[in-house]
Homo-oligomer: 124 residues x 2
DNA sequence: CTAAACGCTCACATCGATGTCAGGGTCAAG
DNA sequence: CTTGACCCTGACATCGATGTGAGCGTTTAG
């Protein structure tokens, strides 16, 4: 498939797909005329990249992780594991931060609701 | 306290504190000479702002939420609740996304570990 | 062969929170 | 009054992923 179809299937813009390639996160074969061609499997790869990018994993870090998934090379595997573990820790921290923020928000909501309830009571 | 101390106590840079004020997220009284002065309670406010900003809540949205916490006004309270609920949903979605990414990462780590284990076996 | 739809590269723009620098006040201790 | 530490405003820079537009080539259906 060409870039338009991959874009349609993944929701990533053509621009983003070219960017992923530029960053080394995605490969493509080229037609004689220079147009990118992809296989079905690339759909999954793009989804993976999207998930990590959306999770705040910088593309530079992805470069060290994802290719290693496609072709785990003896030497790099160990190094990649370190990076992945580190990134996993960062993700967990981020999750904790978000959960804490949500908890704080819940308290605000609760306060606000209580305020409204009291207002309503006074009106009765 | 002046801005330097508030910065030291919260970890937010002086620049950020001024930015929060500029955005309407933080108030300060001014000395005759124009310097900002804060009370102890502002430490908590800054921490709250930091938590939400770190969680990806845009300052514009915070403006609609946080002030309402300080001074819940009859009319705005209901509107603020809507915004808070909406933002809470967004936070939950983000959390789900991060958790999904972490799960995907766990699978990659597992694959990688399995690969390394097989390598080690062959060496024996 | 032609036109429409699609793709290519290059380059500049965007957003939000923060960093950084310049030029110039303020405050407190001596 | 002076000095050193602190603060002020304003402006420009940064980062990363993506948007956008120009100018031009490719592919494919008719």
């Amino acid at each position: 498939m060409r870039i338009g179809e991959l874009s349609a299937r993944t929701g990533a813009s053509r621009r983003s797909l070219r960017y992923y390639e530029e960053q080394g996160l995605l490969v493509s074969s080229r037609s004689p005329g220079g147009q990118r061609h992809y296989e079905d499997e690339h759909v999954q790869r793009v989804r993976l990249v999207q998930a990590f990018l959306a999770a705040g994993v910088p593309s530079g870090t992805l470069v060290e992780m994802v290719p290693c998934m496609a072709e785990p090379s003896e030497g790099r595997a160990r190094q990649a594991l370190e990076i992945m573990d580190r990134e996993r820790a960062r993700l967990s921290e981020d999750i904790d931060g978000l959960v804490a923020a949500r908890d704080a928000l819940d308290r605000l909501i609760e306060d606000n609701r209580a305020y409204l309830t009291r207002s309503a009571d006074r009106e009765v």
